[in-house]
């Protein structure tokens, strides 16, 4: 959605700059979510003898999910495209 939103607002001469803007926009968020997914996998497959720490983390995982669900990339993508046009 972010790529489409940015490319829709620029003409073809701005494609290279658009792709770099897309990368800047997405890199941090995608890395954060990927890291969260990896931590979740490690947590679920925890080999600890005492699972109470893991269980507490599973309970707290609701906050990560709220953060995940809340994000809407479109306003940020529009702003990134608008910055290219200035």
């Amino acid at each position: 959605m972010a790529l489409a939103t940015i490319l829709a607002q620029v003409d073809t001469s701005a494609v290279p700059a658009s792709l770099l803007a897309y990368e800047r926009l997405r890199r941090e968020r995608v890395a954060e979510i990927q890291l969260g997914a990896r931590q979740n996998g490690l947590r679920l497959d925890s080999a600890d003898a005492d699972l109470s720490v893991r269980d507490a983390e599973l309970a707290a995982h609701a906050e990560f999910r709220k953060h995940l669900y809340a994000y809407d990339v479109v306003p940020d993508a529009r702003a990134a495209a608008a910055a290219l046009l200035q």
Binding site: M1, L3, A4, T5, L7, A8, D11, T12, S13, V15, P16, A17, S18, L19, L20, Y22, E23, R26, R27, V30, A31, Q34, L35, R38, G41, L44, D45, S46, A47, D48, A49, L51, R54, D55, L58, A59, H61, A62, R65, K66, L68, Y69, A70, Y71, D72, V74
Partner: protein, 266 residues
């Protein structure tokens, strides 16, 4: 396939090249959450999500392997929007493809090379065809050929976990609750169950540690012996027919896509 929908929705011209000879019934369940449903609605697929998805509600829960509840699973966003669905991967691909104008998807095209020459980016396919575009989005799978044109080579690191996936029709599990996502998590392994296909099928996945590294695939045949082992957590997978997929960590700590800057207007 979603990117194609989004780009077309913004008025851009798009072609999709798919390596499979047909879009088929591959894979099992995927879990679709509000951050994704928001965008599916924007490309007109809200009704398809409702039709093909199976909404999971507030009874979704993590359990210990002995059935003791651990915690509820967050299935709504902060505003209370419960746009959280189990989905059969094949249904998802089908309705994403069906939403595209005719002639956009070209099956039987496996990408084998990329080159950029001035204003033209060109992708070569194993069948001898080529395609030219201003922007190329490489989404050619975990064994991507095109990735090597953007990233330096890196070897995936085996995660040490293998998952056995399968589907059971609702008729065979008449008492199974179809309104929730449930996971049983024991030491080193876990078992996940949620409904798909508008609540007509139960999707299950058993994740177990293994020393045996295998090729990542949605469709590799499973081994009955290992399926039985995976049922230690969930107790319900034994004897079910499974397919397997291994999980890999990418060789890098982050794998956000880097697109080669496209050419200028031609």
């Amino acid at each position: 396939m979603f990117a194609a929908n989004a780009l077309i929705g913004q008025g851009l011209r798009v072609s999709v090249y798919e390596q499979a000879s047909a879009l088929g019934e591959v894979g099992a369940g995927v879990f679709v959450t509000p951050n994704a449903v928001r965008h599916l609605e924007r490309v007109g697929l809200g009704p398809a999500v409702e039709k093909w998805g199976a909404r999971v509600g507030p009874d979704s829960c993590y359990f210990r392997h002995d059935g003791t509840p651990i915690a509820p699973v967050q299935v709504s966003d902060a505003s209370g929007w419960n746009a959280t669905f189990g989905m059969h991967r094949a249904d998802f691909v089908d309705f994403l493809a069906a939403n595209l104008p005719a002639g956009i998807v070209h099956t039987g095209h496996r990408a084998i090379g990329f080159e950029q020459n001035g204003d033209v980016a060109r992708v070569k396919f194993a069948n001898g065809a080529t395609a030219e575009a201003e922007v190329v989005v490489a989404a050619d799978g975990i064994h991507s050929e095109l990735r090597s044109y953007v990233f330096p080579p890196s070897k995936p690191v085996f995660h040490g976990t293998i998952s056995y996936r399968g589907l059971v029709s609702r008729e065979r599990l008449p008492n199974w609750p179809m309104d929730r996502w449930q996971m049983w998590a024991g030491p080193s392994r876990h078992f996940l169950v949620f409904p798909v296909r508008h609540g007509t099928m139960v999707n299950y996945v058993g994740f177990v540690p293994t020393d045996e590294e295998m090729k990542e695939s949605w469709s590799a045949p499973g081994i009955q012996r290992c399926c039985a082992a995976s049922s230690k957590v969930g107790t319900r997978a034994s004897g079910m027919c499974c397919s397997k997929s291994t999980r890999h960590f990418a060789g890098r700590s982050t794998t956000v896509s880097r697109y080669r800057p496209g050419p200028k207007a031609g």
